[in-house]
Subunit: 238 residues, 2 copies
Amino acid sequence: MKGSLIGIGVGPGDPELLTIKAVKAIEKADLIIAPCSRAEEDSIALDIVKEYIKEATEVRKRVFPMVTCKETLKQHWEENAREIMGELENNKQVVFLTLGDPMLYSTYIYINRLIADGGYSVATVPGITSFGAIACRLNIPLAEGNEPLLIYPLGKNTRALEKALELGVEAVVMKASQNPTGLAALIEANSLEDSFVVVSKCGQDKETISNNIEVLKQERLPYLSTVLIKSKPIERKW
Amino acid sequence: MKGSLIGIGVGPGDPELLTIKAVKAIEKADLIIAPCSRAEEDSIALDIVKEYIKEATEVRKRVFPMVTCKETLKQHWEENAREIMGELENNKQVVFLTLGDPMLYSTYIYINRLIADGGYSVATVPGITSFGAIACRLNIPLAEGNEPLLIYPLGKNTRALEKALELGVEAVVMKASQNPTGLAALIEANSLEDSFVVVSKCGQDKETISNNIEVLKQERLPYLSTVLIKSKPIERKW
């Protein structure tokens, strides 16, 4: 019998936003893989779950660099997948941690695919998304009634977001630090200056919340920044 | 000191998909409000959390009918909000249960607004969405890299969904039972017959999974049906 890989969404930051299922999987793990973007940096995902890890469980921090070069990324995914498959051959229960939800914009998606293609058993536990937590934190619904909601990872190309805003769709813009000035221009072009809010490091010590368009124009948003754009003005001010 | 209202997302069905925070709030509650669609029906949300409820906690099932008449809905929301405000005046900790996530297409959004407008303390705990759980169940990512994702509550008007599919956006269609034949026509118009999967009652005893377009054309989907539409063909068959 070979081991299995369990991908776990650890949510956006608060350890209490882990699910019971995720906590149980962490408690039973032989090995936990915690991703980070640089070797000298802490793993945010590991920091969130550390109170649930049993003493006998091994933890390995592994680097997944934040680069756009596909070859470099692929190399890191393959190296990591090989390491995990080696442990599965040794009947280990391996848990891979992911910030937010594992099936939405995560490195885990690529690892999952490589391990499943290798013929190994893979299971995934959903997690609370950053935008789900932000909506609760701000007390602003993401979407209600028959409103569509667009989840949009921001890049240089903003075409699908443009179309959605023209149609009056509610939007969550993730990775807002990738192109904040482009986003500011879109918000202004659609006269949505009173209908957005930007949240950085939600639920963490350095959390900031703002609905001032100048914050986007400064082009210096923190990495973990998310913008909610509503079809109607947001009444509360920050 | 007055009591406070806590809205809780109980997730899609598996009691282990509740967060630690949700379980703690349920354990501390004086009163739990559990919504159902008809007086003679069970509350699915209550069924999910029942193992976490302490003996001393009072539970009240309350009816929120599934009708489109706004006046009828408003009357139910207002009656329910008045009842909750009465309990908050008596310093009660009141928990309101919601399937999936409370800030996405829930009755709780309206109750939250009425209670907050009344000047009472309101907090909300995010929950695992049905689509988050479905993606894990099927081992299909919702969106990766820079793919936008549209969350779409299906109705008779499908314009924003049409535009999104034309642009090759990944989509989650909720409330698919509202207009399954309209959805089937859109899938065929965009040649996406190999790129969708419909899941009914995910994680429950009567769960069904299919990628056969005829299932949508029969126009008899269960209430809790969700459709994932991918921009590329889905390899696995059901």
